[in-house]
Symmetry: C2
Subunit: 376 residues, 2 copies
């Protein structure tokens, strides 16, 4: 195994400017041509270093050399984007040698990011195709009396075709994440850019609000979270978007989809507001207790024929290795029992972005497909 | 000292959904009403935990209790945004209890973020005023034959006043950072929103490209970095911006400013292209060796009267505790010696974002002030 210890690259730039020289840097992670990965950590004083990551179950110890450089080589792994952590003397933290860090709204989500590529670009990779833009807005929520952020994807050409109006997907993140998650971890823009370039989806706007209606650290108020989030969504976010973007502002051209906590939000808000949303989806959804379904979804099951006539898409997905699988399956059974047409996509995979990126790639071509949409 | 050990907040949301319960979380950092700060880490197996941060020189040890909870209280500190790290058994890493993480293009920049606030909002805080937007573009650089990102700030109302054209500030980050740095660490949007709301600046667009013309880890090619970056800036970024935004596309309405590595880039590109840029600034600039100044700035010093007539603003700033101070002072002396009018702002502070946020706040009101600008 070739060991690379790089001196800090930047020092040379400022030679003579008086900056202190930074310590030598260890190359980690290093992906080999065989898709095996070597992780390294310079830690002469540490007693134990473990690796944990989405590419393998459990943990693997790194081994220490005499000079205090720890390393382990694992794999080969499939081409994917994985999250991982080091556990250094019992403390779960990032790989200090890797600049790519996954963050969110709580510390439990902090990880390092590893991408393994193969010869072909993946469906989530940036490619030389027309690109949409990501916009970050700050808005004053009247519903929540606070300054909040939201992220918007506009498809390629949005700023040029100033006559065209677009459908809108409201897309929600999960617990511990934030309004950047679908962009930074979910690669929403690149996935849609690639689908559009291949002619496999219609262009639409994606709106990604911050999913906490009460602060993520307000433990005693989490029961109100979806209700407060829904107030902000309907009372502030949707009017903000519809006054600033060229939207097709009717139920046939609005979809509401989320993952995990956001999946529960999308289903409960969407299925209780079919006058607003014609397409509804939940990925690995956080659904609440099954005995509450009849009450939470009372208006839906009261008039199944009306609901079936209104719903252009109702899509549930969950990986079989996901702790949320039984709840998603139970919700699908509940819908079937009450005669509500839907798709239940049972896939491989666990509660990870690997699954959610694929689900977005799968459902984007289905969205707004049966409605009159702007020509492309 | 009150010790807060919070159980993970999110678990309650998914009770029954089958997720594994996450470990108890330690509250860190905790800012007291007296602006003293307590840092904590649960690390029963660690042997030494140190704190290092921009709020104090050197390091401070955390003290271990019998149950393995380490902590230290330091301060009081002034209201500011500070970056800090833990050093756990010799490994410099983040505070795993803090969701706010500073990232960049190399791992040397990874830190945790601490904000200490006063009763009054700071000039960089989000306030209930009209807000501009941040846009992220992916573009194919013909100069560099690669897919790159750039960040753009548009002032409040940009999308509504569709007849108005705006001046443009090209604003560059430093080494180890990326095109998000001025937004996420520099708070460029909030600083300008606040200045605009107070009537203390004219509205302008800010363009923040990725500052590496060669990859930050291509150590042997860093000597070409500014030249390659300049090719991308002039050949790709500026045409991209001027074709997509309503700009005032002349030298009087273009400024070029950067910090550290980006300060060196702004000065060398800007002062060699006075036909393109009427205002030039460098914060804590990475300037290269002083003996090279006459060659690097040959066209500037060849015609000082012409340059003085063209330059609406030439602004250098550096903190006296910054390792780059002597170089900035030397460059100011070089300009004086050659009769080039400029401002040299010598402030307190070191090589930190605390200084750069303030410099942006100071120079924004000076930019485009003497040119015919759109009415506000």
């Amino acid at each position: 195994m070739k060991l690379l210890i790089l001196t800090n690259l930047v020092v040379g730039l400022f030679a003579g400017a008086g900056w202190a020289q930074e310590p030598a840097r260890v190359s980690s992670p290093e992906v080999g041509a065989d898709r095996r990965v070597t992780f390294r950590l310079l830690a002469p004083k540490a007693h134990e270093v473990l690796l944990t990551g989405e590419f393998m179950p459990g943990t693997r110890p790194l081994e220490r050399r005499d000079d205090g450089l720890w390393s382990v080589t694992v794999g080969p792994f499939d081409a994917e984007i994985y999250h991982y952590n080091f556990i250094i003397d019992g403390v779960r933290t990032i790989d200090p040698g890797n600049p790519r860090v996954k963050t969110g709204s709580t510390p439990s989500t902090i990880s390092s990011v590893l991408q393994i590529s193969d010869a072909r670009p993946a469906f989530y990779d940036g490619q030389p195709v027309p690109h949409g833009d990501i916009r970050t807005h700050w808005y004053q929520s009247q519903s929540l009396n606070s300054l909040r952020r939201l992220t918007v994807y506009t498809p390629p050409g949005y700023d040029r075709d100033v006559q065209t109006r677009y459908p809108v997907l409201y897309l929600f993140h999960g617990a511990n994440a934030d309004e950047n998650a679908w962009h930074q971890l979910g690669r929403v823009n690149l996935i849609l850019d690639n689908l559009l370039a291949a002619g496999n989806a219609r262009p639409f706007i994606v709106v990604m609000p911050f999913g906490y209606g009460v602060p993520p650290n307000a433990a005693d108020r989490q029961g109100q979270n979806t209700a407060m989030f829904g107030k902000d969504l309907i009372g502030d976010v949707m009017p903000y978007i519809e006054s600033r973007y060229r939207t097709l502002a009717d139920r046939d051209h609005r979809a509401i989809v989320g993952l995990s906590m956001g999946g529960g939000q999308a289903l409960s808000i969407g299925l209780n507001h079919l006058e607003l949303f014609g397409s509804v989806g939940g990925f690995s959804s956080g659904l609440g207790p099954a005995p509450d379904f009849p009450k939470t979804y009372a208006s839906l099951i009261a008039h199944p024929d009306a609901a079936n006539g209104q719903l252009r898409l109702l899509w549930l997905g969950c990986g079989t290795e996901d702790g949320a699988f039984a709840a998603s399956k139970g919700f699908s059974d509940f819908l079937t029992e009450h005669g509500i047409k839907h798709t239940f996509r049972s896939s491989g995979g666990a509660h990870t972005w690997m699954v959610w990126r694929r689900y977005l790639y799968e459902i984007a071509p289905l969205l707004f497909a049966s409605t009159a949409a702007p020509t492309r």
